[in-house]
């Protein structure tokens, strides 16, 4: 469990992290979302104590990270796949990290096999592809069998197979009761992976809610329908308060009514339906909306607006 309270980090004139308060719970994947430069990496660095907060606090299972007796058993982090000395072999890289926490040597072979780098264990990491570097970073994070895993943009540089692999890995880690905190600017990736979302923009908290709540709050649900009587249905639905457009395939897309409301409406009026499907807007679209509102903040909207939107799940 990670708890941030009023976390703020200022670099010179830039406020990288602005009064962030949130908690990351165990047993689920928490996505940490924001456009580039929103302060995701800085927040993770503050959690690890790599940076010192300007004000506010962040605790890991109740105390600062550095106070844990065996830090690698507490947090495993992948902040940057390039945080290795390229002249060192994968094995020696993991060995020198493992030794700080008195972890057994055989653990190194285990994590190398787990991430699929067993065969290149003796190779110097400067020859690794971005994807292999990413896997080495993940191996390093898993060394101490930590309670909390923190990944900063872990799918960067991975091929589709690798992306699927890490998604499954994160799900497995969360299902074992661990805390998984993963940042991304790829909405589609988070939609498929995260149970909970913390969204930030310009260092500020925008939203902190479950993924489902986030999508529901940020996008209108639409209903796709096919009917041989499109004109009559359009008339009825518009009268019931929906907006209707037809898509490329000749189906109607309605906003403002649920699939069951629409089905009932058609039944009551004797209109035949050939297809009726609720369509969920993707997280991508939801995020676009947020980014757009982030631009509005920038243009100088009142402060209360930001406060309102920070309420869990109640994003405009």
């Amino acid at each position: 469990m990670i708890e941030a309270r009023g976390l703020t980090k200022r670099y010179g004139d830039t406020l990288a992290v602005d009064n962030l308060s949130f908690s990351v719970e165990p047993g689920r994947i928490t996505g940490f979302l924001g456009p580039n430069g929103a302060g995701k990496t800085t927040t993770m660095r503050l959690i690890l104590g790599l940076d010192r907060p300007t004000s506010g606090t962040v605790s890991v299972d109740g105390k600062p990270f550095a106070e844990h007796p065996w830090p690698m058993r507490e947090i495993g982090a992948l902040l940057d796949a390039k945080a290795v000395h390229g002249g060192r072999s994968a094995y020696n890289h993991l060995l020198c990290v493992a030794q700080t926490n008195n972890l057994p040597k055989r653990r190194i072979g285990e994590v190398l096999d787990l991430v699929g780098l067993g065969e290149v264990a003796g190779k110097r990491s400067k020859g690794f592809s971005l994807g292999m570097g990413q896997r080495l970073g993940i191996a390093c994070a898993l060394l101490g069998d930590p309670k909390i895993l923190m990944f900063d943009e872990p799918v960067n540089g991975l091929d589709p197979e690798g992306i699927l692999w890490i998604r499954n890995l994160m799900k497995a880690l969360a299902s074992e009761g661990r805390t998984v905190f993963v940042s991304s600017h790829l909405m589609s990736e988070m939609e498929n992976t995260a149970d909970h979302l913390i969204v930030i923009g310009r260092g500020k908290l925008i939203s902190d809610c479950t993924t489902a709540e986030f999508i529901a709050a940020n996008s209108q649900q639409s209903v796709r329908v096919r009917t041989p009587q499109p004109d009559e249905l359009t008339l009825l639905a518009t009268a019931a308060g929906a907006t209707v457009r037809s898509d490329e395939g000749g189906a109607l897309v309605l906003l403002g009514l649920t699939a069951s409301q629409l089905g009932d409406l058609a039944f009551e009026n004797g209109i035949r339906l050939h297809e009726l499907a609720p369509a969920h807007a993707s997280l991508e679209e939801a995020f676009m909306e947020l980014t757009a509102s982030s631009v509005e903040f920038h243009a100088g909207l009142p402060q209360e607006h930001a406060a309102q939107t920070a309420d869990a799940g109640r994003v405009r």
Partner: protein, 301 residues
């Protein structure tokens, strides 16, 4: 590379239950030793150090035998050499035989400065520092372990360099019977002192490294401090002088203070006595190391 790996392999594996106690100094020392021994640059730099010191020491020793030979061969036409002067030169060389063979340390210090800088700046230039401080967030422990491991490696290699330079140099000097042995007064102190000098040089650079973090900057500062300052001191007005003369300033120059222990012949006017000079040099290094520690503890990594 293996493709999608099943996550059915238990992530927990063989880590075992959390032991009592806490991750501390000794584990970090082992880690730092693994770091220093697992990159090639360490071996290249140490090899260069030994080669440069032994080679230059040998060359300088050979030069001294040639100088002596010139006098023993008598005057070239037109030169008058007083009788017994060759013996005088032979005696002079013999009395300085140990430090003559260590002359290569003048260049060796520059190489250990590079190694000392890299011991810490390579963590920053590669980004490894973020991994290191995530595995062991207690920064004082990391700094101490790093310093101790580097210090011990530098001392061992420094002593090897110094003794090797000594023996090779004496071998060459012995061709003209102007060599000395470890049994002679002060000789053992000079040779061990050469190793100590190199180690402290490295630690000085290590401290600057923790303060500046950039390899090039640290090497430039280290060389400036140890080498350029020494050269500049040669331009100070000689005696008799007023308040800012060579004899007042000279002994405080880091190289002059530090090389007093191995009695380098070019360490200025009125040098400190060997151990006092070395103490002053250690104090300089301590200032750099403490400064480095403060920056290491406080600044964002």
């Amino acid at each position: 590379m293996a493709t999608a790996v099943s996550h059915e392999v238990l992530v927990g594996g063989t880590v075992g239950r959390q032991p009592s106690g806490r991750a501390g100094f000794f584990g970090t020392v082992r880690s730092e030793f693994t770091k220093i021994r697992s990159v090639r640059s360490t071996y290249w730099t140490l090899f260069a150090l030994i080669l440069a010191c032994v080679g230059i020491g040998a060359l300088f020793s050979w030069g001294q035998t040639q100088r002596l030979l010139r006098f023993e061969d008598g005057a070239s036409p037109g030169n008058k050499i007083p009788p017994g002067f060759a013996e005088h030169i032979a005696h002079e060389i013999r009395s300085q035989a140990a430090s003559i063979s260590l002359f290569g340390l003048l260049i060796g210090q520059l190489i250990i400065i590079v190694l000392g800088a890299l011991a810490i700046t390579s963590e920053y230039s590669t980004g490894m520092i973020r991994t290191s401080l995530t595995a062991m967030p207690r920064r004082g422990t990391v700094f101490a372990a790093k310093g101790v491991v580097f210090g011990v490696v530098a001392l061992v290699v420094g002593l090897v360099t110094s003794f090797l330079s000594f023996f090779v140099g004496q071998l060459i000097l012995s061709t003209q019977h102007v060599n000395t042995t470890l049994g002679h007064p002060n000789v053992l102190r000079i040779v061990i002192g050469g190793g100590l000098f190199l180690a402290v040089c490295g630690l000085l650079s290590f401290g600057i490294g923790a303060m500046l973090r950039h390899t090039a900057g640290v090497i430039a500062s280290g060389i400036g401090l140890m080498f350029v300052l020494w050269i500049l001191s040669q331009f100070l007005p000689g005696p008799p002088s007023g308040w800012f003369g060579q004899e007042d300033i000279d002994k405080w120059i880091p190289f002059n203070a530090g090389s007093a222990i191995w009695e380098n012949q070019a360490n200025g006017l009125h040098p400190f006595s060997p151990w006092i000079g070395f103490g002053v040099f250690c104090a300089y290094a301590a200032v750099a190391v403490v400064g480095g520690l403060i920056v290491f503890l406080r600044r964002d990594a």
